[in-house]
C-alpha cells in the first residue's frame, strides 16, 4: 500500500527502543537481562499501535477490535482455565508424565471450540484452508 517508509520508521524505532533499554536499564542489577525483555515489550507495543494508527489514519481499513482482540482474548481465558484445572485434576488422580501435554492438548481443543462458538473462526473458512487437495488440481 506504499507504506514501506513507515515500515522502516517502525524498524528503526524498534531498534532504538531495544538498544536504549539495553544501554541504560541492563546495568541496573535488579533488572539485568529483564531490561532486554522490557525493551522488547515496549518496542512491540509501540510497533503494533503505531502500525494500527497509520493504517487507520491513511487508509479505508477499519479494524474490528471485538473480532481481532476481544473475542480471541475471551477464548484464551477459557483455554487458560481449562489447562490449569485439567492439569490439577490429572495430577491429583493420575500421576503420569503426560499430564501437562494432555492438559495443553485439551486446552487447545477447548480454545478452538470457543473460537468457533464465538464465530471468531468460521468452520467453512477453516476447512477451506485445510483443503490441500485443491492446491494441486
Amino acid at each position: 500500500m506504499g507504506f514501506q517508509k513507515k515500515v522502516m520508521e517502525c524498524s528503526l524505532s524498534n531498534i532504538l527502543i531495544i538498544t536504549t533499554s539495553i544501554f541504560f536499564l541492563m546495568p541496573i542489577p535488579k533488572l539485568n537481562i529483564y531490561a532486554y525483555i522490557i525493551g522488547f515489550a515496549l518496542s512491540s507495543t509501540y510497533v503494533v499501535f503505531r502500525g494500527m494508527y497509520i493504517i487507520k489514519k491513511r487508509t479505508v481499513i477499519r479494524f474490528n477490535l471485538t473480532k481481532i482482540m476481544a473475542k480471541p482474548a475471551f477464548c484464551a481465558i477459557f483455554m487458560f482455565i481449562s489447562i490449569k484445572s485439567i492439569n490439577k485434576y490429572l495430577s491429583l488422580h493420575y500421576i503420569t508424565k503426560y499430564n501437562m501435554i494432555s492438559s495443553f492438548a485439551a486446552g487447545i481443543i477447548i480454545y478452538f471450540i470457543m473460537l468457533f462458538i464465538t464465530k471468531t473462526l468460521h468452520l467453512k473458512q477453516f476447512l477451506n484452508v485445510l483443503n490441500i487437495k485443491s492446491f494441486w488440481n
Binding site: 500500500m1 506504499g2 514501506q4 517508509k5 515500515v7 522502516m8 524498524s11 528503526l12 531498534i15 531495544i18 538498544t19 539495553i22 544501554f23 541492563m26 546495568p27 541496573i28 542489577p29 533488572l31 539485568n32 537481562i33 529483564y34 531490561a35 532486554y36 525483555i37 522488547f40 515489550a41 512491540s44 507495543t45 493504517i55 487508509t59 479505508v60 481499513i61 477499519r62 479494524f63 474490528n64 473480532k67 481481532i68 482482540m69 480471541p72 482474548a73 487458560f80 489447562i83 490449569k84 492439569n87 501437562m100 495443553f104 486446552g107 487447545i108 480454545y111 473460537l115 471468531t120 473462526l121 477451506n128 484452508v129 485445510l130 483443503n131 490441500i132 485443491s134 492446491f135 494441486w136
Partner: protein
C-alpha cells in the same frame, strides 16, 4: 496448478517452513556430529555474515516483486509482469554479482579482520556465488507469490533443503580426513548447490508458466520499472540490514552490560546464550505461521488495493489480525501457564534450576501477544 487464497498460501508456507526447519535441524545435528564444537564454531562465525549479505541482496525483493506482480495481475497486464521479472532479474543479477565479486576478493580480509578467524576465509569464498543465486531466486519467488502460486516455491524449498542435506553427507564422507575447515567449506558448498538447484527449478517452472499466458498488453519502460522496484525495495532492504547489524551489536553489548550489572563475564555470556539460544527459539516458533501469513498477505492486499476493493481489503486485514491474535493469545497462555515445566521438557540438562526461564516466559504473557 490452481491459484491459492492467501490463507491457503500461508498454510502451505507454514507447513513448508516447519518441514524445512526439521530438515535444517537434521542438517545441524549431522554437522555438529561430524565437525564437533570447534567446527560448528567456525560455521556459526560465518553464518551471520552470510545472512547479512543475503539481507543486502534479497531482503524486501520478494515483497516488492510480489506486490508489483499482484498490481499488474489486476490489470491483466501479463506482458508487463514478464517485463518486470526480466528487469528485476537484471537489477538483482548485477547488484548481487558486484557484491559476490567483492566478497570473493575480500574473503581473507573479512575472515581475518571482521570475523577475527582466518580459518573462515575458505567458507566465505565458497558462499560468495550463492549470493547471486539467492537474489535471482528471490525475484522468481516474488513472481510466484504475486501470482498466488505458493505451492511451487514451497515444494522447491523442500527439495532444495533435502538436496543440501544429501550433498553435505557426501562431502563430509569425502573430506572427513581433511580437517574441519574443509568440511565447513563443504557445508557452505552444499548450501551453494542447494541455491543453484532452487534457482534452476524456479526458472524452469517460471518458463513453463510463462509460455502458457502471453497476451500482448502494454508494457512500462525499463526506467519506470526500475523506479517501481527501487522505491519500495530500498527502505525494506535498509531496515533488514539495520536489524542484522543490530543483532551483531546486541551480541557484544548485552554481555558487557550484564557484567556492569554485577555478573561475571562467564555467567553474563551464558545468560545471553540461554536467552537467545533457548528462550527465543521457543518464543519465535509460532512466528512461523505469522511470517508465512505476512508473505502471502502482501500480494493479496496489493491486489485488493489496486482493484479498489475496500470490502476485500478490510476483510483480509481483519481476518489476518484475528489469526495473529488467535496465535498470539494461545502462545501467551501456553508460555505462561507452566513456564518452568515447559522449558524443562525442551532442555536436556534436567538438574538445572529453571526458575530464571520460567520467569522470562511469565513476562512474555504481555509481549507474547503483541509480538505476534
Amino acid at each position: 496448478m490452481k491459484k491459492t487464497t492467501y490463507l491457503q498460501g500461508a498454510f502451505i508456507l507454514s507447513l513448508t517452513n516447519i518441514l524445512t526447519g526439521i530438515i535444517a535441524f537434521i542438517y545441524r545435528i549431522f554437522l555438529t556430529k561430524t565437525v564437533g564444537a570447534e567446527g560448528i564454531g567456525i560455521y556459526q562465525l560465518v553464518l551471520p555474515l552470510y545472512y547479512f549479505f543475503i539481507t543486502l541482496v534479497s531482503s524486501g525483493l520478494v515483497t516488492t516483486i510480489s506486490k508489483l506482480i499482484a498490481e499488474n495481475r489486476v490489470k491483466k497486464n501479463f506482458s508487463n509482469i514478464y517485463h518486470i521479472i526480466k528487469v528485476g532479474l537484471i537489477i538483482s543479477g548485477i547488484w548481487s554479482s558486484l557484491l559476490a565479486i567483492f566478497i570473493a576478493f575480500n574473503s581473507s580480509f573479512l575472515g581475518t579482520y571482521i570475523l577475527k578467524d582466518e580459518r573462515t576465509a575458505y567458507p566465505i569464498l565458497i558462499f560468495s556465488p550463492a549470493i547471486i543465486f539467492i537474489a535471482l531466486s528471490a525475484v522468481l519467488k516474488g513472481y510466484f507469490y504475486g501470482m498466488e502460486k505458493v505451492s511451487i516455491p514451497s515444494s522447491i524449498d523442500i527439495v532444495e533443503k533435502l538436496i543440501r542435506l544429501i550433498i553435505l553427507v557426501v562431502i563430509t564422507r569425502y573430506f572427513i580426513n581433511h580437517g574441519i575447515v574443509l568440511i565447513c567449506a563443504g557445508a557452505m558448498f552444499a548450501m551453494v548447490c542447494g541455491e543453484i538447484l532452487s534457482l534452476i527449478l524456479l526458472f524452469t517452472f517460471y518458463h513453463y508458466k510463462r509460455n502458457l499466458l502471453i497476451p500482448r498488453t502494454k508494457i512500462q519502460t525499463n526506467l519506470s520499472i526500475i523506479k517501481n522496484i527501487l522505491i519500495p525495495l530500498l527502505p525494506l532492504s535498509i531496515s533488514g540490514a539495520i536489524e542484522n547489524i543490530l543483532d551483531m551489536i546486541d551480541a557484544v553489548l548485552i554481555p558487557s552490560k550484564l557484567v556492569e550489572a554485577g555478573f561475571s563475564k562467564q555467567s553474563a555470556l551464558s545468560l545471553y546464550g540461554e536467552l537467545t539460544g533457548m528462550v527465543f527459539p521457543l518464543l519465535y516458533f509460532p512466528l512461523i505461521i505469522i511470517a508465512s501469513l505476512s508473505t502471502t498477505l502482501i500480494p493479496s492486499i496489493a491486489y485488493s488495493y489496486a482493484s479498489n476493493n475496500s470490502i476485500a481489503l478490510n476483510k483480509k486485514c481483519n481476518d489476518s489480525m484475528a489469526i495473529a491474535s488467535i496465535i498470539g493469545f494461545a502462545s501467551a497462555v501456553v508460555f505462561t501457564s507452566y513456564p518452568s515445566e515447559y522449558v524443562k521438557s525442551f532442555i536436556i540438562d534436567r538438574k538445572r534450576d529453571f526458575y530464571f526461564f520460567g520467569q522470562l516466559f511469565r513476562v512474555f504473557l504481555i509481549i507474547g501477544y503483541l509480538l505476534y
